[in-house]
């Protein structure tokens, strides 16, 4: 009896394999779960938080964690649990906007540099180098301080220091795509530069940039929290996690909870992004896809 040849369906098999790898890596699963929790927390914050994050209640100040106040209260009598939960919204907002802004700038600069090459490339890359000559936090601090510390400017400042990574990535992809024969073909039938750039080159660059964006989401939160901690970011009474950690510094000895809980959440979310990002990167690495 002849054995029939198995019909291979590469795309579906590939997806199945991806799903298999996803489930198999415990750490990636944990990361995904954490992120899902984070998203849910941010989405339903007002429903979850028992108290208002900004309402002061001086008679209730500096209470240690209890059933009424899961994370205790701070020096103004505000419930820390509610503040932390609300803080997740701010964190999410920052991540989202920074990613969109820096990703867009990065892709555009990168594709332009990679596609046109020559002097355009030189200039754009020098500019990128200039931004990269600073440790990113320091530069973000400088921008945030000068623009005036608040939420919007924090987002702007972090975007400014983040776009360079994506620019380099997009440029590398653009260079690869540029030399493909099918680009020649399009040009030979009259396709203009702009059209080629946006319709053909740019879409190819989106995927690696997206992966990198995911990997860097943790860093974005850390930078925002650092700015908040130093006083150069989101200002009180807005419950940004970094600023909250700084708030509790003076009370560290006896009221440790004011600084500790926001910090735990920062670590928690960043951990989630890191695990997820690692997993995604491992999954896409062709050598490890065994």
């Amino acid at each position: 009896m002849e054995k029939s040849v198995k019909v291979s369906r590469p795309f579906v098999d590939d997806l199945k394999h991806t799903a298999f790898l996803w489930k198999k890596s415990r750490l990636t699963m944990i990361g995904s779960v954490i992120i899902v929790i984070f998203l849910l927390m941010a989405a339903f914050a007002p429903l979850i938080a028992p108290y208002s994050p900004t309402e002061q209640n001086l008679s209730n100040k500096l209470r240690s964690p209890s059933w009424q106040h899961l994370f205790g209260t701070d020096q103004f009598g505000r419930d820390i649990f509610s503040r932390v939960i609300t803080g997740s919204r701010i964190a999410l907002w920052i991540i989202f906007l920074v990613s969109v802004i820096s990703g867009s700038i990065g892709i555009i600069v990168g594709v332009t540099a990679g596609y046109f090459g020559g002097i355009v490339d030189e200039i754009l890359m020098r500019i990128t180098d200039m931004f990269l000559a600073f440790p990113s936090l320091v530069l973000a601090m400088a921008f945030a301080a000068m623009l005036g510390p608040n939420l919007t400017n924090t987002i702007i400042a972090i975007s400014i220091v983040s776009w360079t990574t994506y620019a380099r990535l997009a440029r590398a992809e653009a260079i690869k795509v540029k030399s493909q024969p099918y680009i020649e073909a399009i040009r030979s039938v009259g396709g203009g530069n702009l059209r080629i750039m946006f319709l053909h080159v740019l879409p190819m660059c989106i995927s690696p940039v997206l992966v990198q964006l995911t990997l860097r989401m943790g860093t974005i939160i850390l930078t925002a929290a650092s700015l908040g901690f130093l006083g150069l970011g989101v200002q009180p009474p807005t419950p940004e996690w970094g600023a909250m950690v700084s708030d509790g510094r003076n009370f560290l000895i006896d009221q440790w909870w004011i600084s500790t809980f926001p910090g735990i959440f920062i670590a928690f979310v960043v951990l989630g992004f890191n695990l997820l990002g690692d997993g995604v990167r491992d999954m896409l690495d062709p050598r490890l896809r065994r």
Partner: protein, 330 residues
């Protein structure tokens, strides 16, 4: 049990790899043997398990692979039962191996002389510095300029030169057996000839046996005394080279020879019908049976053992022998 080969005797070797797709039954009872000074060629298509066999003999099979069963007797020692330390003494000492891609098989950040010296130092238990005169001698033997090459890095050498270095490194400890895993496959045709000549010359000088793994029948014809043909993890035929080419017995060997161009051949090249089986789910019985033009009912259910059909000529096929030794497929 009597040994068929005085230097090396492999019987019933089974190796499997545990992957996400399932268990790849790479080797399913391989038989192989050689005498001292002999040259055995192991021939087969890509994926038939020739390299795995040699790695298994050297006990270099690593996760996710595992040697499941078998017996390997080398120079009187049962290799599969040796403790790791003992095996380390054998490796690089009495038995050494050279690989297909010479440039990636050498450590890129170490000088070539050091890498050769290392092998000698380990065998003679002296410091590496003291091995340099001998290393230089090896380089000269393999046809390289010792002073220039000793202090070079692998990326500074051409493919052919790197392979010569590897040969020098492999023979530096005067092993009894040199395993050469497709040593010429990554090289230009002209360099191929040179390397084979070099192996030939050195084997004659130093008296070592050579286990040559290749997919090229031409190389076998030129270099090897005896041949073992492999298919899908099975040993299917074993004979002297001359006899194999004169009278190939296994249908697969016949198919191989018909598919290879040869000087003087005027008839059409014939490809063997079908494709190599998936080793996660191999065909039961004789693994070649789906492609065999002479397939019988028996072939579908049980694996034919390797039996001697004429002196020195063994085949694993139910077309030969008296079908008394019917083995159940494990």
């Amino acid at each position: 049990m009597e040994l068929r080969g005085k230097l090396l005797d492999v019987s019933g070797l089974k190796v499997s790899f545990y992957t996400y797709r399932g268990v790849i039954k790479a080797l399913d009872g391989v038989e192989m043997w050689m005498d001292s000074g002999e040259r055995l060629g192991v021939v087969g298509e890509t994926g038939c398990g020739k390299s795995v066999t040699s790695l298994a003999v050297m006990r270099l099979i690593e996760q996710p692979g595992e040697i499941q069963a078998g017996r390997v007797i080398f120079n009187g020692k049962s290799l599969l039962e040796l403790p790791e330390e003992g095996m380390n003494r054998v490796r690089g000492g009495e038995m050494s191996m050279i690989f297909q891609e010479p440039r990636s098989a050498l450590n890129p950040v170490m000088k070539v002389g050091f890498q050769i010296g290392e092998a000698i130092a380990k065998a003679k238990k002296i410091s590496i510095k003291k091995t340099y005169p001998e290393a230089k001698e090896m380089l000269r033997l393999v046809g390289l300029d010792p002073d220039r090459v000793l202090n070079s890095y692998p990326h500074e050498l051409s493919g052919g030169m790197s392979q010569r270095v590897m040969i020098g490194m492999g023979l530096a400890t005067h092993p009894k057996l040199l395993i050469a895993d497709e040593p010429t496959s990554a090289l230009d045709v002209t360099i191929q000839a040179q390397i084979l000549e070099l192996l030939d010359e050195l084997a004659r000088k130093m008296g070592n046996a050579v286990l040559l793994i290749t997919h090229d029948m031409g190389v076998v014809a030129e270099f090897c005394d005896k041949v073992m043909v492999m298919y899908a993890g099975h040993s299917v035929e074993y004979a002297s080279t001359v006899r194999l080419f004169e009278k190939p017995m296994h249908p697969y060997t016949g198919g191989l020879l018909l598919a290879v161009p040869r000087v003087g051949r005027t008839d059409e090249l014939k490809a063997i019908k079908g494709t190599v089986p998936d080793l996660v789910d191999p065909p039961p019985g004789c693994r070649f049976h789906p492609r065999c033009p002479h397939v019988m009912e028996l072939c579908r259910t049980s694996k034919p053992p390797l039996i001697q059909v004429e002196p020195g000529h063994y085949v694993a096929c139910y077309l030969y022998g008296d079908k008394k030794e019917v083995r159940e497929d494990v």
